[in-house]
Subunit: 234 residues, 2 copies
Amino acid sequence: MKRIYLLLACLLFNTLALFAQNTTESRTAVIRTAGFVCLDKVYNSELTAPYDILQHTIYRDSLNYIECFVVTPDGKPFVTSEGLTITPHYSFANVPDIDILVIPSTENSMDADLKNKRYMEWIRYAAEKAEYVMTLCDGAFPLAATGLLNGRLATTFPSDRERLQKMFPEVKVKTNVNFVSHGKYITSVGGALSFEPALYLAQKLYGYKNAHRLGVGLVLDWQLSEIPHIVIEE
Amino acid sequence: MKRIYLLLACLLFNTLALFAQNTTESRTAVIRTAGFVCLDKVYNSELTAPYDILQHTIYRDSLNYIECFVVTPDGKPFVTSEGLTITPHYSFANVPDIDILVIPSTENSMDADLKNKRYMEWIRYAAEKAEYVMTLCDGAFPLAATGLLNGRLATTFPSDRERLQKMFPEVKVKTNVNFVSHGKYITSVGGALSFEPALYLAQKLYGYKNAHRLGVGLVLDWQLSEIPHIVIEE
């Protein structure tokens, strides 16, 4: 009799296990990675604003969201322009594949960073491989320096547009827009408006309703039509 | 003859040294401190947005600015709600005097944080002592729990206002405003609008032109009159 109970218990266990497996497997998880590449003197808001929008997608759908992380060349703590000390999740040596590469500006985006060979080589490699590349503020400079923006429309921090155009004459620098999305490259003005290119990308990936909900979570009434921007599909 | 040149050189040096001293001493440095109190699961944007506005005041006038720092109970690294690991500048044990206390919200501002005795006792002490207290989003809850908002107008994250009112019936919770400044207490909706209460305070301390300039640095056209807000002087 004991043996029968044991057998029944085993059957029940197996059935439940199979059921659980099927339930889990009924939807395939779609998890994109967003890698925020940082150096010392990165600006806080240009790191955290898009980070928050993209990371909050996990509250939308736990099987279809964006996993955010910070990567630096050596994986050691860095100090932001405003003085926060942040420990990155990865170094260039151990960072997972990046679907969405995000380049926030640093104090040195227009000069010293461009001479940082290891950083620049990695940016080119990661940007070419990524599904999307987003720059905030002067993050457009290292991206432009890879040549990947050549022939494309782009923008940057308002008072640095002229410099971007002079340094990279093959980039078509746009004024009077908050962001430009040209193919997979999204460049933006940065600062407090750094939420916008991320909300635009969220809308592209998950639709208006979901993007709007992400905005509400950060007390923004997201309406793409109200934002000066340019979109060119490739 | 050589001695005369040496004497003249000495005289010149002393005169220049005195002149330099007088020039430096002609203005007294006015440096306010802004302490951002954090716990694990603090929200990124509610920490960095006001931090950036207040910290950037150093670019306005190197003798009259706000020095920002992060303080936690134990001074050990904490992890934000979105997953950034930040090392604070101070613990409760060694934090300098705070002129502007900033309380960003955490995931637990409405419940667990209020039961954190050490945190709550420190909040009350630091808030009473500060020249200004600013809360972002649900940072209003720990401040209200001290009793310091009793009889005063305040606000919080839009969908948490009803809860704030229920939990603290002596606080006059306002809706349809982005921030409330009642005496030294500035409470605000938080999220992406967390720049606003800091710009308001910058305008109060340094005037409209300087606040506007701080806004431009973060691509914001700061106009207080366009922001729904309430100010009550005490």
